[in-house]
Symmetry: none
DNA sequence: CATGAATGAGCCTTCATTCAT
DNA sequence: TATGAATGAAGGCTCATTCAT
């Protein structure tokens, strides 16, 4: 019947509820401060019920990570479709990344806490598979833009270079920057007042290094970023408070 | 008198022994697989003695992290003094980073495992202070080279840019690459066969983006790297097996 | 009217279905491996329905035990009616016991698992009563043959001996042998290659000890056993694979 | 030093204390009613300490079983050395078994509760080995007497029979009788007023069936039993109340 | 009648830390 | 000073039973 379908929907909704609560707790109390008791209390369900939805603590955390990735993928996908030059589209993806960090900080920040081998090891095989696949989905999105750039001639790959290499460079800058951003390290003392801005600038410089046209010296990517925010992520910046 | 000094020296030696053992265990069994019992057994001292040296488990792990940083600082310092152009010296620091990852992988790899807030929170205030300071020591080393580049004119900072920004860029690439490298993510599937090489290339491209002369297209930095290995890190590559 | 009767019959059928499934699960996964969830799943009914039929988990297990006894009683009854001397009839009952172990091993083997006090304690009083009674039904069957032997003069009871004592002896040999048989103890190492054969031989020796005529040295009870298998238990050995 | 030896002795003493307490709890509350919390409370030590001595709950229970076997082995050994004919010595072993059941009922009765596969599966490999070995020690003791009987000519093995078969017969009668004895089954209703006496009689009848000389009709084994009690087990019957 | 979601007490096990010797 | 026995709080997970639908 439709009863089954409704049940199924309710189950999904509750799993989402649990995942969201777990993410919040993760953000507030860190990896060590989370356990099934506090999650159960937070969602006001019994511990036993949690285990009906998630096979283990690690499985639940894997689900949080998966959800993080899905949100990221959604934003990246929308950014990649921005109407503009290939480098503008890549810039748009940068805005997507930044938007995630600003508007959904818990998605970005909890992700760092979840890079623990035990999670992959102990979660459901099915979720592990999805988790490993979801990363490439996101990468493919970025790499697609790079390939377009090569196709259009905006980007000329030097010998021995691949689009994967460029993607890797952008990715590592983002990953490292986010890690530092929330490491609690006093970046100001090192002369970095705004980690996200520094991340952005370096990504542009990296693309300049690859000679991806038009260069940042030839084009106002700051204006592009502003347009992307308004045209692509209006909803995000409108509905949720910018931190 | 000198008895006190000898005592002090022995204490330091033993702390070093414990730190080294803890790092090895961390590498072999992961963060979750380490506890005070196995550390005590590994060093063949009692658990009580461990607490004479380290206020808590977290304090011990903080000491491991501190030791990691000190090894890194040592290598970076030597690299920064390489005789060559500013960009060659910066390249040398890249080699130092790479050397750490290759020759002392446990220093590099355990460091990732130690980025948990609880460590900073629960370790001795004194060690926390040192831990926060040690990062800047390492950064200053890198930033010093960048400042030299500005001073010599090899590098012209665009308006609104700082040397800190460049350091941040290099740092995040390294941090992100090392994180990915040991995350277990299937990078090959994304087209990255050698994460360290990709890291290196992107760092050079970034410096190209900053127009730090001489550009990688004008100079053979591969040869520079080889020279640094032989001249600065001969000892490291000679005595320990290169993986 | 007949609707009520039909209802009643359906209820019994379903209870039988549940009992059979529970016994199979008990055999496959042991006492610790059985719970109401897996039973419900196995019979494809809801857990709630299980509780409509059985007051508790223990009550269900008691029902399994009861069913085991009923199967045993059925076989014993048929064996006791074998046409032959009293000792041949007793031998026939031995074949019945053996048949149960060979052809319906789950009835025999699960019974051992159910000798836990909690079952008797927590099952329905009504089922407890039946459970305590069913043993004597089976015993009476055996004891009846012994009484016939005394009546016919095949067996002369020494002073102070009762037929109950003989029954007890045969019973304990069977019970102990079945227990050892499935205890996983390495009987081969002790020189016992076939526990059932050893059980049989000892039961015959015991009857010899009681001087129950004709003695095993005077009569071929091996041939009797073969006849019983063919004449009384043809159905059992034909339809179910002999293990 | 002797300090180490003393420590070792104290450890053994405490393990014995824990084992004894566990056995008592097992007897009082059954298998299901025992858990590490109540054991810890009973011995007035912390739960953590129990795990210093025993690797798991099952390991502790295996130790109880081992201790049961050791007590039995001790009594059997002493009985087997009784000065008399081979059949008298076998009778003495019967007295040992009976003595265990009467004077140390908890050793006998708990043993039945410990025949659970999970115990063998989850206990320390070392203890598992000892546990499997200890059974044969006890058997060898019994079988030794049977072999002596064959050697002296008191017992003539029929073709195809082995001493192991006789041992098996005696063993199963004892095992079955003890099982029934404590099953709570109303044996009186079946005409058995004293299960131990019935066990004894049947074992003698079994030996008669094997024609082990001198037969029970030719010799007063009741008197032998009385002598064994006084000469071999005076200590047991003197110090502990006979139940 | 039938369902299966929900409960929550209970249990095993781990481990950081302390302290008497 | 060095030890390691002892602690006990904490946490992951199970499962018999109930009850609203």
């Amino acid at each position: 019947m439709s009863t089954t379908a409704r049940r199924e929907r309710e189950v999904r909704q509750r799993e989402q509820l649990i995942v969201t609560a777990a993410r919040r707790l993760l953000l507030e109390h860190g990896f060590a401060g989370i356990n099934m008791d506090v999650v159960a209390e937070a969602v006001d369900y019994s511990k036993g019920l949690l285990y009906k939805h998630f096979a283990s603590k690690e499985d639940l955390l894997a689900a949080v990570s998966l959800d993080n990735h899905e949100k990221r993928t959604e934003l990246f996908d929308r950014a990649a479709m921005f109407a503009g030059s290939t480098r503008e589209r890549m810039t748009a993806i940068g805005v997507a990344d930044e938007t995630l960090a600003l508007v959904y900080p818990e998605f970005q920040r909890t992700e760092q806490l979840l890079h623990v081998p035990s999670i992959l090891e102990k979660c459901t095989p099915e979720r592990r598979t999805r988790l490993m696949g979801v990363t490439s989905v996101c990468m493919n999105c970025v790499q697609g833009v790079a390939r377009d750039a090569v196709a259009t001639g905006d980007l000329v790959l030097p010998e021995g270079q691949t689009t994967a290499g460029i993607v890797f460079g952008l990715w590592t800058i983002a990953l490292g920057a986010h890690t530092l951003h929330q490491s609690g390290k006093p970046l100001e003392m090192l002369g970095i007042s705004n980690a996200l801005a520094a991340m952005r600038d370096n990504q542009q410089k990296l693309l300049d290094g690859y000679d991806w046209k038009p260069l940042s010296s030839e084009h106002d990517y700051g204006a592009v970023r502003e347009r992307v925010r308004q045209e692509v992520f209006a909803h995000e910046y409108g509905t949720r408070a910018r931190s």
